[in-house]
Each structure stands twice: as structure tokens, then as C-alpha cells.
Point group: none
Chain length 205, copies 2
DNA sequence: AAAAATATTGGCCTGAAGGACAATACAGGT
DNA sequence: ACCTGTATTGTCCTTCAGGCCAATATTTTT
């Protein structure tokens, strides 16, 4: 799992380098040419005056890397910004000057499908939500994080209602392979068949 | 890091044992005599009719073990219960029959300070908190109005993921009749199979 | 270097799903 | 009485899904 830090500070912050000596550090998002199957963690260094940049960058990443996990490291963390970032699909939000140890913890958490946020933020989220009746929009499930890349692709197509044969065609693999990935997906997600899988991925369970 | 499962089912569920062969399984919380400094993960097996028990047990754990992480594994997960549990300080909420793999993921996440919850719940938390506004009534699909009463009943069950046989049993009709109603439903709604029907009735297409 | 996942494909088999082609019974409206 | 829509069930048949038995190559992790 590769780490890419994006920060206006060339060289990044000391804690980052300490935590991930082999990470790439850039000052802007480079176009994704290679169709890497590997999951990439993007660490976005957020400054109060760069909200527009944050929005744009997150969207770009999500377009170019379906597998990416995005972390926002804020110079001046605040709940509003955290909420905003997480509503865009960011899976962790922390202080830019978090020590290396914390950064590594964050990485462990998100790479196993978890979410990382400060205790205050979590509490706030829960308090507010407990009192309100909410709605839900569309976004694909984080169940997907439990699947491997290929399984994910197959599962997504299956959840759209495609047959194994159709999936095989568009992914250019054998129908047999589709079955294998699907069976593995059922196992991992605890779904009993493709319909249950679809319900899960469509936020119905 | 020690794992303690608390479940009314002696022996616990298979997935737990598979995930954590060395965990203790009890049917009630034992008093803590030793002042262990080690972090303990408590996995509470929740049943719909035991909310009182859940509340009491969580409070006891928090009193006796300052370091404890508490996970709730629910037989019938739902958002309300999840919100309630997390408002008590639970750091993960999942299905009781989650596969071993998921349980291990959860443990990894929480033991590194993360929070684990279903994608629905997270999304709901964020949405509600960030918008704080408009809700939207639970609109049952308008598709259903195209069906006759009996077809409707059958279609709804099918959309939950039940098999023809199961539907036949709960509606007390023959499996053949279920098929007839389903075929009629497909015809009327223009669905090509039960999965598409499910997607339609779940407002996904 | 060794071990563990992941991606790929094969064949075989069972059971479920859904279409084709029916029949019967009952309700309500014309 | 007659027609129409609904509800019910039957048999036969084909296709598909998914489990079980694998094996192999590549990648990732330890």
C-alpha cells in the first residue's frame, strides 16, 4: 500500500517522513497514468485558506483512483472542516502535526476499513444524529473495502444486476473466474447470494 | 490485548471462535478483581430484546475497565440501536454473524484507535450532521402501485432477498404461485429478474 | 527465502429461477 | 349470463447460480 503526501510545503512535515520514509511527497496531484491495482493512501495537507483546493483534489483522486483512501491533515483542525471533508468521502481527519506514531495508527485503521476521527468529532456526530431523523444519499458501500480489487469490480457489476456472463465480458475474464470472485465476495461479506450482495452494496442492510 | 465475548449463547458463535480462538467466552460480565493494565476488547452479543442488559453491561465495563474497548455485535443490526450503542461509547458496531475476517478487521481498527461502523451508519452520521436540515419521508417505491395486492406482497419479500420457497411459506401458498406472481410482477414492472426487481423497489433504478 | 494472499481457470453437480403452455375458481362490472 | 382481472396451481424444460473438487502464476507480506 503506497502513500502519497500532497502538501504545498516541499519536503512535507517531519512527522510524515518519520512515519513513512518511503512515501512520495508532492505539491500537487499528478495524473494517474498507470492502472495500478494497489490501494493508495493520499494524505492531503490542508490549510484553512485552501478549501477549494481540497474539494477539487479529493474529487480528482476519487475519479482517478477508485481504490484510494484519503486522509486530511489539517493545520488548524476544526469540526466544520472535518465534517465537510468526511462528507466528501475522506476516511480520516487529523492534525497536520500529528506525531509519526499517530499517523501510523491512522494508516492501520483505514487500511482495515475503519474510520479515524477525533473523539470530540465522533461524539458530536452521534449527538446530532441521535436527535434527528435523517435521510441517505447514494454512495457505494464501504463493505467494498473488505474485498480485493478484483472482487470489488465483480461485486459492483453483480450488484447492478449483471449476469456472470455479462460481467465476464466487460472485465474480459472467464465466467468461471467471475464465479470465483463472487463466491469469495459472498464469503467475505457474509452475503448468501448476489441479491444479498446487491442489497448490502446498495445500503440496504 | 485480550478478547472477551459476552453472549447468552454458551460457546458463542462460530465466527468468533474462528477469529479469536483464544478469546474467553462468558454469558455475563465477571467482576474485575485484578487491576490489569492491559487493554481488553469486550464483544457484546446483542439481541433485540436485551437493550437494558446492553446498557447495564456497557456501564459496568466502563467503570471496571478504564482501558476497555467495547464492540457490539447485533443479531439484528439497525441504525437506531447502533446510534444508541455508540452514544454510550462503543467503538464498533456490526452484525453478530459477521465472518471471522470482518471481526479481525474490527479488532485491528479499534486497537489502533479507530472506529468501526457500517457504511450506512457513517454516512447517516455525516449527512445529518453536515446538513442538519431536510429529511425525506421513507417513500416506498411508486413501482409497487403498478402491482396487484398479492403481487405486491410477493415482490416485497423477493426484494428482501427471500427465495421462492421462503416466500411461499410465509404467504402460505405454493412455490408455483409465487413464481406466477413474480413473473407477473416482472412483466408489469419491466424487470428482467428478481434482482432488478429488488433494485427497483429499493429506489436504485 | 518462505509464506500468505490474490487472480485466474477447469470440470462436475445440485438446486433454484423463470419461461412456455396450460387449467380452475372467484370477484366485479356490463 | 358474459367478460375481465385476479389468485391459485400443475408439468415440463432450459438456463443460471453457486458450491466443491481442484491447479497454477503472480503479487504481497513476513
Amino acid at each position: 500500500m503506497q502513500d502519497i503526501f500532497i502538501s504545498p510545503l516541499s519536503g512535507g512535515l517531519a512527522g510524515w517522513v518519520e512515519a513513512f520514509p518511503h512515501a512520495k511527497i508532492a505539491d500537487f496531484l499528478k495524473p494517474n497514468k498507470s492502472q495500478a491495482s494497489e490501494t493508495i493512501v493520499f494524505w492531503l495537507h490542508m490549510n484553512a485558506d485552501r478549501q477549494e483546493w481540497l474539494t477539487k483534489t479529493i474529487k480528482q483522486i476519487q475519479q482517478q483512483y477508485t481504490q484510494a483512501k484519503i486522509v486530511v491533515l489539517a493545520n488548524s483542525p476544526n469540526q466544520a472542516e472535518a465534517l465537510y471533508a468526511m462528507s466528501l468521502g475522506v476516511v480520516a481527519y487529523s492534525h497536520a502535526y500529528s506525531p509519526a506514531q499517530v499517523l501510523r495508527e491512522i494508516k492501520t485503521v483505514i487500511s482495515h476499513g475503519g474510520v479515524w476521527m477525533g473523539p470530540d468529532l465522533l461524539k458530536r456526530l452521534i449527538e446530532v444524529s441521535s436527535t434527528l431523523a435523517g435521510n441517505q444519499a447514494e454512495q457505494v458501500s464501504q463493505h467494498l473495502s473488505l474485498l480485493t480489487n478484483r472482487e470489488k469490480q465483480v461485486a459492483i457489476e453483480a450488484a447492478k444486476g449483471l449476469s456472470n456472463k455479462e460481467i465476464a465480458r466487460i472485465l474480459d475474464i472467464t465466467e468461471r473466474t467471475v464465479k470465483a470472485h463472487l463466491s469469495a465476495s459472498f464469503e467475505r461479506l457474509g452475503a448468501k447470494d448476489r441479491l444479498h450482495l446487491a442489497l448490502m452494496l446498495n445500503n440496504k442492510s
